[in-house]
Symmetry: D2
C-alpha cells in the first residue's frame, strides 16, 4: 500500500461521485476511467493529493481516495454470497489471526475472507484456500491478484470431503453450505489449540454444527451474531436508521482440544465442551 500523500501509478484507488457512487481500480499511466458521468484520465490522477476533488471531461466531480479494506470487500466482484465487514472483523479478532500465521479456508467463494485473511497474516504468513468450483476460484484469484495479495495465498481446487494435507493450521474458516459434514477433516487440519470458525445463516445448520463439534471434542464453543445498527448523522435529528440488515449469519467458534485420558481432567473437559450447559 502507498502511504504517501499522493496517488501513484500502481495504486489501488477509489473515485467517489455524486449519490455515493464509487469505483475502485488500479492507476496505470495512459489508461482512462470511463463512467456514464464522463472520462477521467489516469494521468490526471497520478500525483494528485488524496482527498482532493477531480472532474471528468463533462465536469462531473469525484473525490480521489484510497479504499479501506471494508471498501474493497464491499466492492469485490462476486459470484457468491458476501461476507460483511462486521463479521470479518470479529472473526479475525476472535480467531487471533495475526502476521506470520498459516490459516486455512474453505470455500474460497469470491475471495472476500481470503482477502481479509491474506491482509491479516502479512507478508510472512500464508493462506490456504479450498474451493471446488473452478470458476469461483478463478474470480477469487483475479480479485486477490488485483489487490497484490495473491502471493500469500495457495488456491486449491477439490472436494474437502477428502480432507486436507495440512495438519498444523493456526485457524480454519469453514464457509460452505454443509459445514457439519467436514468437522472431522477440519479438526485434522488444525494444530492443537487451533481456532475453528464457521458462519451459517439458519438455525438448523447451527444445530448440526454444534452436534458435530461436540462429537469431535472441539472446546470453547461459542455461537453468536453481530447486529450492526446505523444512525442518521444530522446532528439536530439523531436517530437510528429506519431499516437495517437484520441477519447475515450465526458465527460459531471453537478450538481444537486434545483428548483427555486422565480422570482428574474429565470434568474440565466436559465443561469446556459445553456439556454442563445442558443441565
Amino acid at each position: 500500500m502507498n502511504y504517501e500523500l499522493t496517488a501513484r501509478e500502481g495504486d489501488l484507488i477509489q473515485l467517489v461521485g455524486l449519490t455515493h457512487k464509487h469505483f475502485i481500480f488500479i492507476l496505470k499511466s495512459g489508461d482512462e476511467f470511463h463512467s456514464h458521468r464522463g472520462i477521467v484520465k489516469h494521468d490526471d490522477l497520478i500525483g494528485k493529493t488524496w482527498g482532493k476533488q477531480v472532474f471528468s471531461h463533462t465536469g462531473a466531480p469525484f473525490f480521489l481516495l484510497q479504499p479501506s479494506l471494508a471498501d474493497i470487500l464491499n466492492d469485490l466482484p462476486r459470484s457468491t454470497q458476501i461476507l460483511y465487514p462486521k463479521d470479518i472483523g470479529y472473526i479475525l479478532i476472535q480467531m487471533g489471526v495475526t502476521s506470520g500465521q498459516t490459516v486455512m479456508e474453505a470455500g474460497t467463494g469470491s475471495g472476500s475472507m481470503t482477502t481479509a485473511l491474506a491482509t491479516a497474516v502479512g507478508e510472512n504468513g500464508k493462506v490456504i484456500s479450498y474451493e471446488r468450483n473452478a470458476e469461483f476460484q478463478r474470480l477469487a484469484q483475479k480479485n486477490l491478484e488485483r489487490l497484490g495479495l495473491a502471493s500469500r495465498v495457495t488456491f486449491k481446487l477439490g472436494d474437502i470431503a477428502d480432507g486436507f494435507d495440512i495438519t498444523d493450521a493456526d485457524a480454519f474458516f469453514l464457509d460452505v453450505q454443509n459445514p457439519f459434514d467436514y468437522i472431522e477433516q477440519v479438526r485434522n487440519a488444525l494444530k492443537p489449540g487451533g481456532f475453528f470458525c464457521t458462519l451459517v445463516p439458519t438455525f438448523n445448520q447451527v444445530e448440526k454444527v454444534l452436534n458435530g463439534l461436540r462429537k469431535t471434542q472441539f472446546a470453547f464453543v461459542e455461537v453468536c451474531e453481530l447486529l450492526l445498527r446505523y444512525y442518521k448523522t444530522n446532528p439536530s435529528r439523531i436517530r437510528p436508521a429506519d431499516r437495517m440488515v437484520a441477519h447475515t449469519g450465526f458465527l460459531i467458534f471453537a478450538r481444537k482440544m486434545e483428548e483427555t485420558t486422565d480422570p482428574r481432567g474429565a470434568q474440565l473437559a466436559q465443561e469446556i465442551i459445553g456439556i454442563e450447559d445442558e443441565i
Copy 2:
C-alpha cells in the same frame, strides 16, 4: 508468536481451569504459576503440546493454550474503561488499518486499542499513542512490553489540546471523554483521505462530535453501533442467552477531505459531508 505445536520459553500462554477461570502469562524456565488451585511449574509446560491438559500439584486440571488477541484484550490489566473485541475488530476493518501504516491514538488508556493497532500495523508499522495520565501510560507500556509489541509504539505524554507533531497519519482513533474538543487537532494530524474514528457512550457526545466533524469538513461520516448476541450451545435447546451487554458505545467514523473551491464540486462536497440528509 510461536507457530510450533508446542509451548516454548518466552511464549505468552493461557491456562484455562474449571469454571472458565483463565490465566495469561509468559513462560520462563524456573518460574512457577500459583493459583488457589495449586502450583504448576513453567518447566512442566515448556515443550508441552498446545491443547493438552496439565495438572497442578494438587491435581487441579488446566488446558494449555495460546491466547487469541480477543483473549489477551479481555485479560489486559486495566485502569480504564475497556474496549470490546466486537468494536475493535470493526474499527480496524473500517479504518483499513494494515501492515506498514502509521496510525495514531489518544488516549492510550490501558493499551487495549494500542495492542490491536500494533498487531495490525505489523513489524514495519508504527503506532503513536497519546495519554495525559502518566500512570495509565505506564500500565499500557507494561502491557505492550509483555506482549512484545512495545517496539512498534511511540508513547507520548501530554495534553492533546496542543495538537500533534505528525501530519500524515493513515488513521486516528480518538478515545477521550470529550472528543469533540479535538477534531481540529486530529484533522491536522491526518494525511488527506485519512480515517477518523471515535467511540462515545452517550447520544449527547454523538451530537457534539457530529457538529465538530461537519464544521471541519470531515466527510463520509458514519454513526453506528454493534450488538453482540450470544446463543446457548446445547444443540437440543438452542436459544439466545438470557441477558446481554446492551451497549458499549456509538462508533463514529469519518475521513479527512480537502476543501473544494471549484463550484462544480460543491454539491458532491455537501453530499459526502452528509448535509443532504437533513432535508
Copy 3:
C-alpha cells in the same frame, strides 16, 4: 364485533388474496367489492363461514377473515406517520389502559392510537382526542366511525398550548412533534398518579422531553424502544428475516406525582424522578 362463525351484514371483514394483498371493508347487502382481480358480491360473502375461500367473478381466490386490531391499524387510511402494533400494545399495557377509563391523546393524526385506546377503554370508557389540523381530524373521525368506535371518542380541534379542560385523565398519550412544549399542560390534565407517554423518533427530542419531565416533577420516567424481529417460517431453514424495521421511535413513560414538602420524603422524591441516576 361479530363472534358468530359466519359473516353478517354490517361486519368489518378482510379479504386476503394472492401475494398477501388484503382489503378491509364493511359488508352491505347489494354492494360489490371491486379489485383488479375481479368482483365479489357482498351477498356472496354474507352467511359464509370465516376462514373459507371465496372467488371473484374472474376466479381469483380470496380468504374471508375478520381483521384483528393489528390488521385494522396497519390498514387505516392515513394522513400522518403510523404507529406500529408493537408500540401500541406496549403503551396500552404500560399505561394500564383498561375498560371504563378516561384517557386523552394529542394529536389525533389518522386515529390509529385513538382506535386502540377506544377499543381498550370499552363501552363505558372515554377517549378525548385533540388535533389542530381539521383535515386530519375528519379522516380520523371517519376511520373511527367505520370501526363503530366513534361514540367512545370526543374529538377536539385546537391548539393544545392553551391547555385542556380535563383534570382527571387516567392516562395521556402525547403524539406531537414538540411534546416537550406541552408537559405542563399534560400534567394539569392528568389525575394524580396518572400515566404519561410520548413517542419521539430522535434523540434530540428525548433529551428535551426528559428535561421537561424533570422540571415538572414527573416520576418513574422510563425511556425505551421495542425492536420487532421476524423469522422466516420454513421449518427446515429457520432464520431471522434479512431486513427489518430498525426504528419506529423512542417511548417515554412517566407518572404524575404530587410535590413533597415533608423533608423525610425528599430523597424518595429525587429517586423516583431519576436524579440519583446522574451520579
Copy 4:
C-alpha cells in the same frame, strides 16, 4: 377499578418506597401494611390522593399509587416462568383480543396471561384456562380473585391431550413446554379464522411448532421476537442501559383456515400456509 382521585377501601394499591421497592395489596379498613421499613395503617391510606407521599411509623416514605397492568403482572405471585409485558401487549394486539370475546389458554401457570386476557375481554367476555397442575391453578385463581377478575375466567384442570369441549374460541394462547403436541386439539377449539399464539424459548421448539402448524393447515404463520431496550434517563448523558434481557421467547402466530377443495384456490392456500417461502 377506582377512577376517583383518592384511594378507597377495596382498591388495589401500590406503595413505592426507597430503592424502587414496591408493594401491591388491597386496602381494607383496620388492616396494617408491614415492611422492614415500618408500618402503615390502611386507614391512613383510605381517602388519600393518588400520587401523594405517606410515611410509615418509623418515618420511611412511600408514594401511594394505582398499579398499572404491567405493575400487577410484574408483581404477580408466581410458581412458573413469567410472561413479559412487552410480549403480552403484542400478543393481545396481534390476536385481536377485545371485549366480549371468548378466548382460551393452556397452561394457566401463575395466571399472568389469564389476567391480561380477562382484562382485555371485559365484563362480557370469557376466558377458559386449562392447567394440569392443581397447585399452579390454585395460585392463579387466588391471583385473579385478588384482582377482581375471577368471574370472567373458567379454570379447568386436566390434560389437554384429550382436547377441549369448546369449538368456537376467538383466540387461543398455548403456553406449554411441548405446544407442538397439541396443535390439532387447539385447531378444533378455535372458530374458523380464529387466532393461535404460542411462545417458546428455543429454536428447536420453533421448528416443531412450524411443522405442526403446516400439517394442520394453519395459515398466516408468523414467527417473531420483541427486544425491549431501556435507556438511561439522565438528560445530559442519554444512552442505552448497559445490560438488557436478551431473550424471553419466540412468538408464533397463526390463524385457522378452512381446507380448500377448489383447485383455483390451491396456490393461495399454499401461499398463506407459507410454503412459497421455501423456494
